[in-house]
Each structure stands twice: as structure tokens, then as C-alpha cells.
């Protein structure tokens, strides 16, 4: 593995790109700035989102955004990709060709820190490993709104929202565990696992919440018939038929296995497919 070439930035470029100079530039170009896009080995996801961001749907030309074909015409460099070894010198050439002072925006997770490729042998992990970056736009790929927000933040139209947060006061107390419905949290655990299996982690969580609240509605969770009526009521209220069906399955399998001691299941205890009117 070869070492990263050390490039000594000429002093006149460093001096011409101080923060004061950049702020002055941003003040001058407020309503008209030309952007040159450098692809430093991106997967093209960020490119697609940038092109989505310059469609009439988002229309960044309202505040002066214009893509140009040469870095010599540009005020802002929009860099994507984890900076592969092959793109190292082309990026430096583009950077040097851009008139001073210039603003560099790193787009996407790869451009910010190297993203998923951060420890790969063939990348230098991030634009800021080679040239000074002013604005970082995270996202993989960033939503067009994120890109527009990044540009607007760089230009000073909007304020930055994220701040470094450090939490240090630990009292050692774990999060509170909810009171179990059926004396044991093993019921909750099984319902959670089954609902994740049925609907995936995202909708499974919602299904779990819906089913547990339905069982809690019952006056006596240990009584099968009372709980069945309570769950049926919730199922009828449910608009999404997927949740309704999965709640039926949860009741027939998990709930009955926890409440019944003997294995025979009477038909009156099961929720049948047509019973919930839909």
C-alpha cells in the first residue's frame, strides 16, 4: 500500500481562502453563484440527487444556483465520493483552477468522512483529507431538500441546526420496564418477536404497540372471552387490513399459548378470518 502523497498547498491559495475572505465572497455572490461538480469516485447516487435538486421541482436558481462546465467559472466546488486514489490529482487540479476565494462543499456520507468505504484500501476517506472543506452535507444519498439546505446554510440563508452533543451525567438507572400484562414479560417478548417476524422491524413495532394496547383494554387479560371481545373491537377500528390480520394471528397463536394451560383450543376462543367484518 503506497503512502498518501503530501501536497503542500501554496501560501497564496491558503491566504486567499481565509474565513473572512470566504464570508466576503458569500456576501458578494449572494444571489448568483456558479457551481462546479467534482465526482471523486462516487457511486452516482449523490449525482442523481444533485440532478434531482436542480430540476424545476426544487429550482435552486431562485437563489442563484447554476452548474457550470469548468472550474475556472466556478465559485463553489460540489464534491461527492470518498476520494479514490485516481481522483486525487484531478481534484487538486480542479481546486487550484477555481478562482480564489472558493467554497468547497462535501456532499454525501462518502464526501464527508468516507462513509461505507471509509476503511477501504483504494480511497483517502473524505474530501477534507486533501482539500479544506467548508460545508458538510451528510446523507446517503442526501435528499434534494438536504442539498438545498446545505447550499442555503453555506450561503447564510438558513442557520445550522446540528450541534455537538455530549451526554455525561450517568446515574446508573436503567430505562423503566412497563408493567407486564400477563404477570410475565415473556408474553411481551414473544409478541414482539412474532410481530417482527410477521411485519418487519418498522411495522412490527407499531403492530406490537397496537396489540398490547388492545389486550390492555380488556378488563381481565386472563379471561379469554373478555379479551377476545376487546381485541375484536380494536381490530374493527383498525383501518389497515394488514395490521388487522396480523393482530388476529397474534391472538390465535401467542396469546392463547400463554393463557391456556391445556392444549385443546375451542373454536369459540379463536378469532376467525371473517369475524372482524373485513
Amino acid at each position: 500500500m503506497s503512502k498518501k502523497p503530501t501536497v503542500i498547498m501554496p501560501n497564496d491559495i491558503i491566504d486567499a481562502n481565509s474565513v473572512e475572505e470566504k464570508l466576503k465572497l458569500l456576501k458578494d455572490i449572494k444571489r448568483s453563484f456558479n457551481v462546479f461538480r467534482v465526482d471523486c469516485g462516487s457511486c452516482n447516487g449523490c449525482e442523481i440527487e444533485i440532478f434531482a435538486a436542480i430540476t424545476p421541482m426544487w429550482d435552486p436558481e431562485r437563489f442563484g444556483f447554476k452548474l457550470v462546465a469548468s472550474p475556472r467559472h466556478a465559485d463553489i466546488l460540489l464534491c461527492t465520493g470518498p476520494l479514490t486514489r485516481q481522483m486525487y490529482y484531478p481534484l487538486l487540479r480542479a481546486y487550484k483552477a477555481t478562482p480564489d476565494p472558493k467554497v468547497v462543499i462535501a456532499v454525501g456520507a462518502c464526501g464527508c468522512t468516507g462513509g461505507i468505504f471509509h476503511d477501504s484500501y483504494c480511497v483517502w476517506s473524505g474530501i477534507d483529507s486533501t482539500i479544506p472543506v467548508d460545508v458538510w452535507v451528510p446523507g446517503c444519498p442526501p435528499h434534494p431538500a438536504s442539498i438545498v439546505y446545505g447550499l442555503a446554510t453555506g450561503l447564510g440563508i438558513l442557520d445550522q441546526k446540528l450541534k455537538e452533543t455530549v451526554n455525561e451525567t450517568d446515574d446508573g438507572f436503567p430505562p423503566i420496564i412497563d408493567k407486564p400484562v400477563l404477570n410475565t414479560i415473556l408474553f411481551e417478548r414473544d409478541v414482539y418477536m412474532e410481530s417482527k417476524r410477521l411485519m418487519g422491524y418498522l411495522f412490527g413495532k407499531k403492530l406490537y404497540q397496537k396489540f398490547i394496547t388492545a389486550v390492555k383494554q380488556s378488563k381481565d387479560p386472563f379471561d379469554i372471552i373478555i379479551t377476545k371481545t376487546a381485541v375484536l373491537k380494536e381490530i374493527e377500528k383498525e383501518e389497515d387490513s394488514r395490521y388487522a390480520e396480523c393482530m388476529t394471528i397474534l391472538f390465535n397463536t401467542v396469546y392463547l399459548s400463554f393463557v391456556k394451560t391445556e392444549k385443546t383450543v375451542f373454536p369459540c376462543e379463536l378469532i376467525k378470518p371473517g369475524e372482524n367484518n373485513g
Partner: protein, 177 residues
């Protein structure tokens, strides 16, 4: 003139975004929100995270477990949300994440107290995780005795050695008859 009529009918398609708020559709995977009070420091998210955006390390100077999230490296896959047992990390609808001039603004950190092994006296897990396990066991209807508490405060290496010792003592090839 016909074109003008059409545009009049359709209206403006452009979002007024930087000047007006824009709402992303439901289910959009935005910035992962970290709730420090719920975190137990089990490091499931750090193991699941594909680009190592979440790092859980032991901080020697502070004698604490350091949970660190770098938003700049996150690829918004939602694996951390999937594996988190306490819902401490959840993907929000936040898409306005750009920072300028200071990259450290992308970081979120959390420090958690550690517990030392009762046999070898080395830190091996967090105080919250031990307490959480105990609470869960109580809620599951288990009897908590000294043996269980001793086991909870023993690190995996010591547990392994203990098990081997026990096995050697009881097996017929062992020294004790």
C-alpha cells in the same frame, strides 16, 4: 397563449423550500435520534452498523464507556433502530443536517458508568446493563439469589474459566475423584 392557460391550471410545482418548511413523506429515514436516558450501553448498534458510524469504546482516562455517533458517516439504513432493545436510537424525519466550518458538530456522544468484574477487577460492561438485566429477570418472574447476582458481575472470561474448572472437577478424567 394555450401554454399560459395550461400553466394557470396546473399552478406552481416548485417547492418553496428554503423559504418555507418542507415536509418529507412518512417513513423517511432521517437523522438517528439518540435518547441518552434509555441507552444501556449494550453495543448492539455498534456491531450492527455497516459503516462503523456508531463506535462504542472504553475510555481509559474517564473510566467510562464511550458511545459515539458520527452523522457524517451514517448511511441511514436503520439497522441500529432494528437491533436496539430499549428503543434508545430511532430514526427521525430530520433531513437538515448540513454543518459548516466545524465538522465536530456532526458528533453525538454519551458516557456510561462501567462495572468491574468481581473476580478479575476489570471493567467489562455498564452499570445500566447489569441493572436492566436484573429488572428484566424480576419482571419475568425469576427468583433472584446471590448466585445470579454474582454471575451478573462476572466478566465472560472469568465465567469461561469457572465453567472449565467445574467441568474438570466433575469429569472422570479430572484430578478430583
Amino acid at each position: 397563449m394555450k401554454l399560459l392557460d395550461i400553466t394557470k391550471e396546473i399552478g406552481t410545482a416548485t417547492y418553496g423550500y428554503p423559504f418555507e418548511p418542507y415536509e418529507v413523506p412518512e417513513g423517511f429515514r432521517g437523522k438517528p435520534e439518540y435518547t441518552y436516558d434509555k441507552c444501556i450501553g449494550c453495543a448492539a448498534c455498534a456491531i450492527a452498523c455497516p459503516p462503523n458510524a456508531i463506535n462504542v469504546t472504553y475510555d481509559k482516562n474517564e473510566d467510562k464507556l464511550k458511545w459515539e455517533f458520527d452523522c457524517g458517516r451514517c448511511i441511514f439504513c436503520g439497522r441500529c433502530e432494528e437491533v436496539c432493545p430499549t428503543n434508545a436510537i430511532e430514526l427521525s424525519q430530520e433531513y437538515e443536517m448540513a454543518v459548516k466550518f466545524n465538522k465536530n458538530d456532526l458528533l453525538t456522544k454519551g458516557y456510561l458508568n462501567t462495572v468491574k468484574c468481581r473476580i478479575c477487577n476489570k471493567p467489562f460492561t455498564t452499570e445500566r446493563l447489569v441493572n436492566y438485566t436484573l429488572e428484566r429477570m424480576k419482571a419475568a418472574g425469576m427468583d433472584i439469589n446471590d448466585q445470579i447476582i454474582q454471575n451478573l458481575h462476572t466478566c465472560p472470561e472469568c465465567k469461561k474459566e469457572k465453567a472449565v474448572e467445574k467441568f474438570v472437577k466433575t469429569s472422570r478424567f479430572g484430578g478430583v475423584k
